[in-house]
Subunit: 212 residues, 2 copies
């Protein structure tokens, strides 16, 4: 069975959990407690030199890191339901939207970044929260501007793609830190559709074995 | 002809320039002066809601944003030379290495992030440089640890992949800010091989029409 090293609140772990569920793949969760620093332990760092979650270990022992690379792999392993459109231009648009979250929001506000902002640069807890809210707001604004369909269930059609997975996971984090979502109604509608699906429901942070 | 909105020092623009060159695609460069804030002009923001570079406008007028989504598109448009291996597991490893730079380094140290660190959080110029050097060092360490081949020309074989492109572009930035590269000999060897290729030479920041 595949083993997913995951932290319940990690939005990148959340992405991989949704993808595994959508693809109907069974996996075992092993919790990595990021707050306790378990990602920096010698054993885990040997598995994942980036010292982050998630890490997916395949049945043959192959180790995959980086959530977006893992999603790309899973999409090749189990092509249906597809996480990206077949048309190259549609694919580029969905991927760009996904990266608006995966590149422009998440890396900038994750635990180690905000930790260093506070630890090395003297930011207060309030400063750290303001930092996270700022980049989420900017990123959500860009994401919403990339959407051209007004009435589709998901960002680019009737099924959830890579970008919808990134969006839903990031929205969890946005609520956690109190981002004002009043200008992002379209994004909330997409989230509502996603949450009708078991693949998303079962991947929710609160539904994980290590949820605190 | 394709039009690339680019800034000479932007490492994400650099990535796309290399890929266009490797694929033998002819393009026109339009400079976006990030330091002057041209990316926030109304016209440009309408083209690229993320208000960043690069943006690639195709001959039919289609607008592509996000460098890694653009590289993915170009790889589908012109499959040879391939930017990712065909084997799914090899592909996942090369993509993870690319993301170690594209997700864990670049987004955290780009101009707008360091600008906000200074403008809103009172960091000095020295603090900003220390921030950039820290995340580059961490990311390069992780990248180098992901490499399993000791003697290949490039990160995962004899031809440059997506990850090599990200690496070479990031190294330009590392030199600019004075990262100590003494522990990253393998990465410098890869860069040396890349710089033997016209596709990389012609994409260098200093070779761009808007180079200052």
């Amino acid at each position: 069975m595949m083993v997913l090293y995951s932290y319940w609140r990690s939005t990148t772990s959340y992405r991989v959990r949704v993808a595994l569920n959508l693809k109907g793949l069974v996996y075992e969760t092993r919790a990595v407690d990021l707050v306790a620093g378990a990602q920096r332990s010698e054993n885990y760092a040997a598995l994942n030199p980036g010292q982050g979650v998630p890490t997916l270990v395949l049945e043959d022992g192959s180790v995959l890191t980086q959530s977006m690379a893992i999603l790309d792999y899973l999409d090749a392993l189990v092509p249906t339901p597809a996480l990206l459109p077949a048309d190259p231009l549609d694919r580029a648009h969905a991927l760009a939207a996904a990266h608006t979250i995966a590149m422009d929001i998440h890396p900038v506000i994750n635990l180690k970044i905000v930790g260093r902002l506070k630890g090395e640069h003297g930011a207060s807890q309030d400063d750290g929260v303001a930092w996270m809210k700022h980049w989420m707001t900017e990123g959500f604004r860009a994401y919403q501007a990339l959407l051209t369909l007004e009435t589709s269930k998901f960002s680019f059609g009737e099924t959830p793609l890579l970008c919808d997975i990134c969006l839903v996971a990031q929205l969890y984090n946005a609520y956690r830190w109190g981002v004002d979502m009043s200008q992002f109604g379209r994004l909330l509608e997409i989230e509502k559709e996603a949450m009708k699906l078991d693949a998303f429901q079962q991947a929710r942070p609160d539904a994980q074995p290590d949820a605190g």
